[in-house]
């Protein structure tokens, strides 16, 4: 429970307490009317409690009202529902309350009025009058008797007055007879009760009335006596008058009934007099009760609508949160009713959503890792892979594809393949082939493509298939391999086989042929005539010469085919280049050979003999190429560079001869491919073989300024050798080379 709900709970408790106190106070008010004790205190308490309760309720109501109006204005969730419920509850509470109030007011008015019947009132008044007249009769007779006695006592001597009074008292049935002087002195008295009883002093009223001779008579309501008084005129002028006061008992029956009538009348009159205030008071009390009930009902309306709407508000807030993507929203369970069920369902739903999202995330990450896995495989794959959309937009490529086609395709993902290919030689040729196939509606095809590169031909095997797709327009995936090196290796292997066969099959019969020819010559040349001998001499000479030539050819072949082990050692490349160049310089005096060596060239790990052979072959090749060129010129340069961790030594040999025929740049390394009239056509083939044995690379191209240029790259050390081997994944001869190196 957070502080806010705690506060609300507190307020509710306060409100309940206030209400209970108010009701208790009202009950107390009605109860205390019957008990006289402590009424003042209680009434004050009840008043304070009531006023306090009403004030508390009013404050709470005001706060609630303000909050409701604010919520309605801000269009808070559930505010309208709450407002409607409040109005409904208030309507439900007010109608019966007002009805009860209305009828209660009617009943109070009529009921109280009905107590005060005119007939009862007049009856009571008449009863009182009757009692009065009964008393009046006695009063008059008593007064008459008193006045008569006063006349009798006129001039009565003071000393016998006491006796006279006693006899008169017994005669008249009076309870007391007293004669006062004008100065209030008791002259004589006679009382019926005890003799010792002293009569009460004469009242001022009696003096006043009797002084003027007025009759004096009254009914004493305290002693139930009729009191009379009369003046006894003085016998002598100048002497003060005396006063006779008498008390006559009223018969008990008359007295009690008259008193009862009087009391009843008084009570009735009191009630009659208090009728209006009573009514007003009851109405006021009723109104206060009504107000308290009404306020309590209204507060209850607010309270219960809030209680009812609160889970709905929470539901709305929760739904918004879920809509915003927050599935962790859990609503508190309000109760076990239908709303509780709803909240429970909501919680269940959000939990399931959260689980579903978690599952989706999990599978997404699975897919992601799968994709990464595939990507890694694709990247490591030596085959180039390009997947295309239906409109030839590039979706994915791998590194090998970029490497084979010589274009960074990774940067071009999302572009159309033909757009990317524009201006890029290899890719353009590749795309042309692909487009031709796709244009004819051929989806699944396989073809070997020959691409013309600047440094020779590239042969690709290419396979295309349609990607599985739900849509109408599926994409394609094209997988291709650079098999140039493979083909080359196959060719090399074939040539090696041919060379070995040739060496074996041809060399054997050559010696007997030569020997036979020489024996023919020796045996018959001297014995023949000049003309015939000349023919024989020419023929045998030709045979021997040709056999000699064939032998040298077969030797060259066998050299090509042989595969002795490499003997690697640290070699100063620059020095060897200088030595070989010097050799040619001295041999061909008119030849210009420029040697430009890299001073930073490290020692190269290589077989010295083979390195010399390579350089010999290259230089001889160059020398032969410029044989017919005036001002022939050869440039040899060495460079060392570092490429991706591999230290590479480069030797470049350039001449200013006629150069290669177009497209020959790759095939010139094949045996028997030569642009020269002389030569076995094996020179460059052997060079290439030797370079590859060193895990190096060789390439030939026509220099833009004319002439041929051959460049060979050699790894400087073992680590570089490994790296260079790794960089030539397409080279099928690599394994062959490696095997030999290891052997």
């Amino acid at each position: 429970m957070d502080s806010r709900s705690l506060k609300r709970f507190g307020i509710s408790v306060l409100a309940g307490l206030g209400l209970a106190l108010g009701i208790a106070a009202l009950l107390l008010l009605t109860r205390s009317a019957q008990t006289p004790e402590d009424f003042d205190r209680l009434s004050n308490i009840t008043l304070v409690l009531n006023v306090g309760g009403i004030a508390l309720l009013l404050v709470l109501l005001f706060g609630n009202m303000i909050r409701l109006v604010r919520d309605l204005r801000e269009k808070a969730p559930g505010a309208r529902l709450k407002g409607r419920m409040v109005v409904m509850f208030i309507g439900l509470a007010i109608l019966p309350l007002v009805l009860v109030y209305y009828f209660s007011v009617q009943f109070i008015n009529r009921g109280i009025d009905s107590w005060f019947d005119v007939r009862i009132e007049s009856g009571l008044a008449e009863a009182l009058d009757l009692s009065k007249s009964v008393l009046d009769l006695q009063k008059r007779s008593n007064l008459d008797a008193t006045e008569t006695m006063a006349l009798d006592l006129f001039g009565f001597p003071e000393r016998s007055l006491q006796r006279e009074l006693t006899s008169k008292r017994i005669e008249l049935g009076a309870s007391e007879l007293t004669v006062f002087s004008s100065s209030r002195r008791i002259i004589a008295t006679s009382t019926g009760g005890s003799f010792e009883a002293v009569p009460a002093p004469i009242e001022n009223e009696v003096l006043l009335r009797t002084r003027h001779g007025d009759p004096y008579v009254y009914f004493d309501p305290l002693k139930f006596e009729v009191r009379t008084a009369a003046r006894i005129s003085s016998s002598q002028t100048g002497m003060p008058d005396r006063i006779l006061r008498a008390s006559f008992p009223v018969p008990a029956q008359v007295a009690q009934r008259a008193a009862a009538v009087g009391a009843t009348y008084t009570n009735y009159q009191q009630l009659e007099y208090l009728r209006e205030p009573l009514k007003r008071t009851l109405l006021l009390t009723l109104t206060v009760i009504l107000l308290v009930s009404l306020l309590a009902a209204i507060y209850g309306a607010f309270f219960f609508s809030r209680r009812l709407v609160a889970p709905i508000q929470q539901l709305v807030a929760g739904t918004r949160a879920v809509a915003a993507g927050d599935f962790d929203t859990r609503l508190p369970m309000p109760s076990r009713d239908e709303i509780g069920f709803l909240v429970n369902s909501f919680n269940d739903m959000t939990r399931r959503l959260a689980i579903a999202r978690e599952t989706a995330r999990h599978s997404q990450s699975l897919v992601e890792s799968e994709r990464r896995y595939l990507e890694i495989i694709l990247a490591r794959l030596s085959s180039g892979v390009i997947s295309l959309e239906h409109d030839l937009e590039i979706r994915t490529t791998n590194q090998s594809a970029s490497a084979i086609l010589g274009v960074d395709l990774d940067a071009s993902v999302g572009l159309r393949l033909p757009d990317v290919a524009r201006g890029k030689n290899l890719l353009e040729q590749f795309v042309d082939v692909v487009q031709v196939h796709l244009a004819t509606g051929e989806d699944e095809w396989r073809e070997q493509i020959v691409l013309r590169a600047e440094s020779g031909r590239r042969v690709l095997t290419c396979a295309c298939s349609v990607l599985p797709s739900e849509g109408e327009h599926a994409g394609y995936v094209i997988v291709f391999d650079d098999i140039t090196a493979l083909l080359q290796a196959q060719r090399d292997a074939a040539w090696g086989e041919v060379a070995r066969r040739l060496a074996h099959e041809i060399k054997n019969p050559l010696t007997p042929i030569q020997l036979s020819a020489e024996r023919l010559r020796r045996k018959y040349l001297g014995n023949m005539r000049t003309a015939e001998a000349e023919v024989l001499d020419r023929a045998t000479h030709t045979i021997v010469q040709q056999v000699e030539s064939m032998k040298s050819m077969v030797n060259a072949f066998s050299e090509y085919a042989r595969a002795p082990d490499l003997h690697l050692g640290r070699v100063d490349l620059n020095q060897i280049v200088h030595e070989v160049a010097e050799l040619y310089r001295t041999r061909e005096a008119e030849l210009a050979i420029d040697v430009d060596t890299d001073p930073a060239m490290p020692e190269v790990s290589a077989d010295v003999g083979r390195l010399r052979q390579i350089l010999h072959n290259l230089l001889r090749n160059a020398v032969e190429a410029i044989d017919e060129t005036p001002r022939g010129h050869i440039a040899v340069e060495t460079r060392s560079r570092r490429e991706g961790g591999a230290q590479i030594a480069t030797v470049r040999v350039r001449d200013n001869g006629p150069g290669f025929r177009d497209g020959d740049t790759e095939q010139i390394f094949d045996p028997y491919v030569t642009s020269k009239p002389k030569g076995t056509g094996l020179g460059l083939a052997i060079v290439k073989k030797l370079v590859e044995e060193h895990a190096g690379a060789i390439s030939a191209r026509n220099h833009p300024d004319g002439g041929a240029e051959i460049e060979l790259e050699l790894p400087v050390d073992e680590a570089s050798r490994e790296q260079m081997l790794a960089k030539q994944p397409r080279s099928q001869s690599r394994s062959l080379v490696q095997r030999r190196v290891q052997a």
Binding site: L29, T30, S32, A33, Q34, P36, F39, D40, S43, L47, Y102, V105, L128, S131, K132, L135, N204, E205, Y218, F219, D220, P221, L222, A258, A259, V261, G262, Y265, T266, N267, Q269, Q270, E272, Y273, L274, P277, L278, R280, T281, L282, L283, L284, T285, T287
Partner: protein
């Protein structure tokens, strides 16, 4: 059509009645009080004298009843009178201390049968009847020989004040009338305090 209007009129009439009733309830007592002649209670004179080691009070109080009270009396309602007497010790640096207080209570009622006014001492239960209201109130206003404090309880070097006031109320009613007077608080009448220093 006309029926509807009648209904509406009847409705509004009823509500108006209730509204008027409520208004009258809330304002009625004020309106009535303005037309009435107010009552006046005043302590005219008072003195305390030493009588055999006991200070005794004599006082004269004037009671003029309001027309409301008179009407109530005429209708048989008893009126309660109380005269309060207090002896206060003045203290220099402290709140004054009321060391003694007395209430003298009387009830005045009209007796319809005898047409006389009855005064009852609520303390002793003694009763007296008077032919006129004037003589009754006169008698009521004469406070004589009321012992207030023994001299021995007063300390030397201290100043003592005595104060007297009279009041009337309806609080001793019983039954539903009690509730009535609970709401009609303006019926209470009370004089100011009459204060003097005790001579020693």
């Amino acid at each position: 059509m006309s029926r509807k209007i009648d209904l509406a009129a009847a409705y509004s009439g009823r509500w108006a009645t209730i509204a008027c009733l409520l208004a009258a309830l809330l304002l009625g007592s004020d309106a009535r009080a303005q037309n009435d002649k107010p009552g006046v209670f005043e302590v005219r004179s008072a003195e305390a004298y030493l009588d055999g080691g006991q200070y005794t009070l004599d006082a004269r109080v004037q009671f003029i009843l309001s027309s409301q009270a008179l009407a109530a009396l005429d209708n048989g309602l008893p009126l309660n009178f109380v005269t309060e007497i207090e002896v206060i010790e003045s203290r220099r640096f402290w709140v004054d201390d009321t060391i003694e207080s007395h209430d003298v209570r009387f009830q005045l009622q009209y007796h319809a049968l005898s047409q006389r006014y009855l005064i009852r001492n609520l303390g002793s239960g003694e009763q007296e009847s008077f032919a006129t209201l004037y003589s009754a109130l006169n008698n009521l206003g004469r406070v004589v020989d009321v012992p207030i404090i023994e001299e021995s309880r007063l300390r030397d070097n201290r100043r003592y004040r005595v104060r007297v006031r009279s009041a009337m109320n309806f609080q001793d009613f019983s039954g539903p009338l009690r509730v009535v007077f609970f709401w009609l608080d303006d019926w209470h009448l009370r004089s100011d305090w009459f204060t003097w220093t005790l001579d020693r």
